[in-house]
């Protein structure tokens, strides 16, 4: 009886205990660290050299096949950009299937299939694995590389390149690669219109037949498949893949700058500067400093609690985000710290970047920072294991980098064993604060001088090439530039003789024909501009009787005073002749590189503050560019004489509002004709 009573009391106690009040005044302690079990990948190799990793995971009835080619980086030279086409060219049809058939068959089983120059990927539900493997093998063995697909890809690539020339982030990464590695290194070479146009179907075919070889390939199979089944299907689909000799390449190691320098791309329309403080580093997975460099970077700029983020965003408010990275690559990697900041604080931001890097190297990290970084990285390592593909990736890295078999199994132990002294030693070994290149893409007129305090400022163009040395004539003034222009096109007298004009231009945007029509009658204060698509007027601007209106797709809006004054300035065929008389201020902003032509930049400002920017070629005196932050840039070329005055017959309009540059050609131009009210409407 007693026994029972005691047991009862115990139960009671236990029950009470389990509902006991918890101490809410402090955070619960962490439980004992869980053992991180990393599944072993099973592996086998075919006679043709294909190495296979199988990571079985039956949680979901899915399976994926990832094929990776392990080759040395290649230098593409005058065909730079070619390898970027290989994957899509392979997916563009096979001896057995057109591209449409291939797309339909992949969609039909709800699968994915894709390729790149160094990989292929296929995934589907388990029950469709036969079909998806059949499609993958068809693409791997029988691609036909159709010419029309290459034409399409080239066109897209050229459009992308054109857009990237005005994209500050794209300019920044091109610049960083070019200055760190040089153009004769696989990581530094730059795609241009010329290199893209050079690429032929033969190049793609030759790449494919050289590199798609089983003896340099890994195949990772992840999902609902065991090793026995994997051996069977791999043999069936990849057993007859023929091996072959694959070329090997070595490259000289890029050297760090001997002292700190600034590489600047002047992008005058920028309101933000894209800053990248960078230097090359030799670092690959498995190096002695590899894990400590992950922690080091986490503390410097790895997230929203890092030193850079806290300083540049939280404390100073210079930017939406500031980050750093320390890369890892077999050949060569980079250390970089970057942010996009307001133009006015560009030099202050660079100062803070340098301060943080220097401070890190000289004074090291704290115990608290290291503990937090360890927790963050261990957490993300643990979370990454949920994806079975991570295990395949580990197995692949162990083979690629010759790592000890237990490298990942003991990764967290290695990470957690690192001390403050280890991290500080790594910082000193890897980072040389006085040998950084500070790349900056921004408004040169505002930032160039201020950046000189950090080192020699070397200017580059938007393709990462050293900018042409431009020597402006010191005696040049804005007024003289305009005089030269008027003289170059035929002289003020002949210009004045042209009272009216009707100009019609044709253009084509992605297959849609456009017509632009202009009517100038400045003497009578009249002006008309129409944009039509297939005969329908899409946009119209008219000025007459001291009033102006704009209409878009049939909706008309009267201009307000400010819009009217801007429109009036544009309503002259030769506004240069009237700027002064109409009270505009003219400023000469030096000699600039306009697509390779040195040109004087003249800023024309109205009393109300409206600004207009024109560029006049140094040599010919002709106006070659009109810059407008709102509507985009217009480039003028193909000047021809009409009534003794030179006028541009070709206009190229680049605007954020249109996806591709608009090439407009003059189809008719009538000067000194009668302009009726009907013409303006």
């Amino acid at each position: 009886m007693k026994k029972i009573a005691i047991a009862f009391v115990f139960t009671l106690l236990a029950t009470v205990g389990s509902f006991a009040q918890v101490d809410r005044s402090k955070l619960p302690a962490s439980g004992p660290a869980p053992e991180i079990k990393i599944n072993e990948a099973e592996t086998f190799t075919l006679d043709n050299g294909l190495k296979v990793f199988v990571v079985k995971n039956t949680k979901l009835p899915r399976v994926s096949f990832t094929l990776v080619l392990e080759r040395d980086p290649i230098l593409e030279g005058d065909k730079a950009g070619m390898s970027g086409f290989v994957g899509e060219m392979m997916m563009a049809g096979t001896k057995n299937r057109t591209k449409d058939q291939l797309d339909q068959e992949v969609d039909f089983i709800g699968a994915s299939l894709s390729a790149s120059s160094t990989s292929m990927f296929a995934s589907s539900l388990k029950k469709h694995q036969g079909k998806v493997l059949e499609l993958m093998a068809d693409v791997l063995y029988n691609p036909v590389f159709p010419q029309d697909q290459l034409d399409k890809l080239k066109k897209q690539s050229l459009t992308g390149l054109a857009q990237s020339k005005d994209n500050p982030n794209a300019i920044s990464s091109r610049l960083s690669a070019a200055v760190l590695y040089g153009k004769n290194h696989p990581y530094g070479e730059v795609e241009t219109e010329a290199t893209i146009n050079n690429i032929t179907v033969e190049d793609v075919k030759s790449y494919y037949s050289t590199y798609f070889k089983p003896n340099i390939a890994y195949l990772a199979i992840v999902g609902d498949m065991d090793k026995a089944e994997a051996e069977k299907v791999v043999k069936q689909y990849f057993g007859n893949w023929q091996k072959g000799e694959v070329p090997k390449f070595t490259y000289p190691m890029p050297q760090r700058a001997s002292k700190r320098a600034v590489a600047l791309v002047d992008r005058s329309s920028s309101v933000q500067s894209v800053i990248n403080v960078t230097q090359p580093v030799q670092m690959k997975i498995g190096d002695p400093d590899y894990i400590s460099s992950r922690l080091l970077n986490q503390i410097l700029g790895g997230g929203s609690a890092s030193r850079l983020f806290m300083n540049l965003r939280e404390d100073k408010g210079y930017t939406y985000g500031a980050y750093s990275s320390i890369g890892a690559d077999k050949l060569v990697a980079t250390i970089s710290a970057n942010a996009s900041v307001r133009t006015e604080v560009t030099d202050s931001a660079v100062y803070e970047f340098i301060y943080e890097i220097q401070n890190l190297v000289e004074n090291g990290v704290t115990e608290e920072e290291l503990a937090k970084a360890k927790a963050e990285l261990s957490g993300s390592f643990g979370r990454s294991l949920e994806q079975p593909a991570t295990v395949a990736n580990f197995a692949l890295n162990i083979d690629r980098y010759n790592l000890p078999k237990d490298y990942y199994a003991t990764y967290l132990q290695k990470l957690n064993a690192l001390t403050v002294a280890d991290i500080n030693a790594t910082a000193k070994r890897l980072i040389e604060p006085d040998k950084f290149i500070i790349t900056t893409v921004g408004n040169g007129a505002e930032i160039k001088e201020k950046l000189a305090q950090f080192g020699e400022v070397i200017e580059y163009d938007n393709m990462g090439m050293p900018a042409k040395k431009l020597e402006a004539d010191a005696s040049m003034t804005a007024e003289k530039v305009l005089e030269n222009y008027l003289a170059a096109i035929g002289g003020a007298e002949k210009v004045a003789a042209i009272k009216t004009a009707k100009i019609s231009m044709d253009a084509n945007v992605m297959g849609t024909p456009l017509n632009l029509a202009f009517v100038y009658d400045s003497q009578n204060g009249r002006y008309g501009q129409k944009l039509s698509v297939a005969g329908n007027v899409m946009q119209k601007t008219t000025l007459a009787d001291g009033k102006g209106s704009m209409s878009v797709q049939g909706q008309t809006m009267e201009m307000n005073a400010a819009q009217l004054s801007e429109a009036q300035l544009n309503s002259y065929l030769f506004p240069e002749a009237v700027y002064k008389a109409n009270g505009y201020t003219l400023t000469l902003d030096g000699l600039k590189d306009v697509e390779g032509t040195p040109a004087y930049k003249v800023i024309i400002a109205s009393a109300s503050g409206a600004k207009l920017i024109n560029y006049y070629a140094q040599e010919s005196g002709l106006k070659i560019k009109y810059e407008n932050p709102a509507s985009g840039d217009t480039f003028y070329s193909d000047y021809q004489a009409k009534d003794g005055v030179l006028l541009p017959m070709a206009w190229t309009i680049k605007s954020p509002q249109i996806p591709v540059p608009l090439e407009a050609k003059v189809t008719s131009m009538e000067l000194n004709v009668t302009v009726t009210d009907e013409d303006i409407k």
Binding site: L27, A33, P34, D107, I109, A375, L385, L514, V552, Q657
Partner: protein
């Protein structure tokens, strides 16, 4: 004997589900205070996700105080009696975790993903939030500014960002779905601190919440920890307010033009949907995939590739508890009039209504759906969310294992039928998004 074997074989074949779906095991219980708890054990990776779904969204708001539910999603990171202001995220991150939250018209969802030895921390943090979150002036003022920025970034500054609020405003006359979760800044500015505190007392109560824990856990230990941290939280004092109005069927088309900071016009069409747990939801979801899901879908192939009238076209069923909207939007290609594009969209809808879809297309739809459902349960975070929604929206946690069956019941004829029944041109909302430059001058 032979006979039996043959029979057995047939039975076997019949019982093999036509579609692949691995069963998701779970355990659940309810505390005395009404908190419903769902646990899913999966020890393959030593991580654990802890989530709380509060069954409160913008539809539970006072029409004069819209934006409250979403505002709370922000406010609930301010801290609690025991967690210092601004430390919530920091604490989770410094123990190696990540966290996030979202608000819809129906629910507010919070989750933390942590190493599994931090389960107790996650339960502590969520129980602090439920027991005594900080709802004070300082927090309200801080978060007002953050929400203002979010509104700018996601709605006002985002091209086409106002599509959802503008559509909802017109798709509902009586139901509180007429306002979007972001709500009104004026309402948030006008609200007193007492109103915020009352909202917390009304909706952030255990009997309006579902706690889900999934991952590397032990059922018994987890249940004990949950009881330790959550049992003391008092049940809400009054019944949870849930609107019970039914949106009447619209009999005329609503048509409007929105002038936005955009360059290219867009055409929006919205059709009212049945409640989310209605059997027709499955056919409607397959219909949307048929129309615009993937490169080989009807409208993408016809309008984007062939005719090149549209740059993009998308059909999105916004499924809501009391009946959401089937939202279709398309962006015109260069030089295409919105009305020409709209006419083509309508023609293709009519084609489905009149002719239905082919056997092959139907088979493809089933395959795509199957793949999507299987992939939807590929992470423990996804499973936790699906379990919680199954319980709260479908009233049955095991619904997570029945989704595939529900889809397999849809027939080819159903797709045509729901196209006719719900894509009713007379009751729909049509919006043209046009560039601001096209706006006529107003006096």
């Amino acid at each position: 004997m032979r006979k039996f074997t043959a029979l057995g074989l047939i039975a076997c074949m019949l019982s093999i589900p036509a579609l692949a779906q691995n069963k998701i095991e779970f355990k659940e219980f309810t505390l005395d205070n009404g908190l419903h708890v769902i646990m899913h054990q999966d020890n393959t990776t030593p991580i654990v996700v802890t989530s709380v779904l509060y069954h409160v969204g913008s539809k539970n708001e006072n029409p004069e105080r819209t934006g409250f539910a979403h505002f709370f999603e922000h406010l609930m990171f301010e801290g609690s009696e025991n967690i210092d202001r601004g430390q919530y995220m920091n604490i989770i991150q410094s123990r190696g975790g990540t966290l996030n939250a979202y608000t819809s018209n129906d629910i507010t969802y919070y989750y933390e993903l942590l190493p599994s030895n931090e389960l107790e921390l996650a339960l502590y943090m969520e129980s602090e939030r439920m027991l005594h979150s900080k709802v004070d002036i300082t927090g309200v003022e801080t978060q007002r500014e953050v929400v203002k920025e979010e509104r700018r970034q996601r709605y006002e500054n985002q091209p086409y960002g106002t599509i959802l609020p503008e559509t909802l405003k017109r798709a509902y006359q009586v139901h509180p779905y007429q306002w979007a979760p972001i709500g009104s800044m004026d309402h948030l500015n006008a609200a007193t601190i007492e109103e915020f505190q009352q909202f917390y007392k009304d909706f952030y109560v255990p009997n309006n919440a579902t706690l889900t824990i999934a991952g590397d856990i032990d059922y018994a230990t987890t249940e004990k920890l949950v009881r330790n941290y959550f049992s003391e939280i008092p049940k809400g004092a009054k019944e949870i307010y849930r609107p019970n109005v039914v949106e009447p069927k619209k009999t005329s088309e609503t048509r409007d033009i929105i002038y936005d900071n955009i360059q290219i016009p867009a055409v929006i069409q919205a059709y009212n949907l049945p409640p989310r747990n209605h059997p027709d939801s499955y056919a409607l979801s397959m219909l949307s995939t048929y129309l615009t899901g993937g490169n080989s879908s009807l409208m993408t192939k016809e309008l984007v590739d062939k005719q090149q009238k549209a740059l993009v076209v998308a059909a999105i069923p916004l499924e809501l508890e009391d009946g959401g909207v089937f939202l279709m939007y398309s962006i015109t290609n260069m030089g295409v009039e919105p009305k020409d594009l709209e006419a083509e969209v309508d023609r293709l809808i009519k084609q489905v209504q009149d002719q239905g879809i082919s056997d092959e297309e139907f088979a493809k739809l089933k395959n795509i759906m199957e793949n999507n459902i299987v992939s939807g349960n590929s992470t423990i975070a996804g499973i936790a969310e699906n379990l919680a929604e199954a319980k709260v929206i479908y009233g049955n946690t095991n619904y997570i294992n029945q989704v595939m069956d529900a889809y397999s019941k849809v027939t080819k004829a159903d797709i045509q039928r729901v196209a006719k029944e719900y894509m009713d041109l007379t009751g729909r909302v049509v919006l043209y998004y046009l560039p601001k430059s096209a706006q006529p001058a107003t006096e």
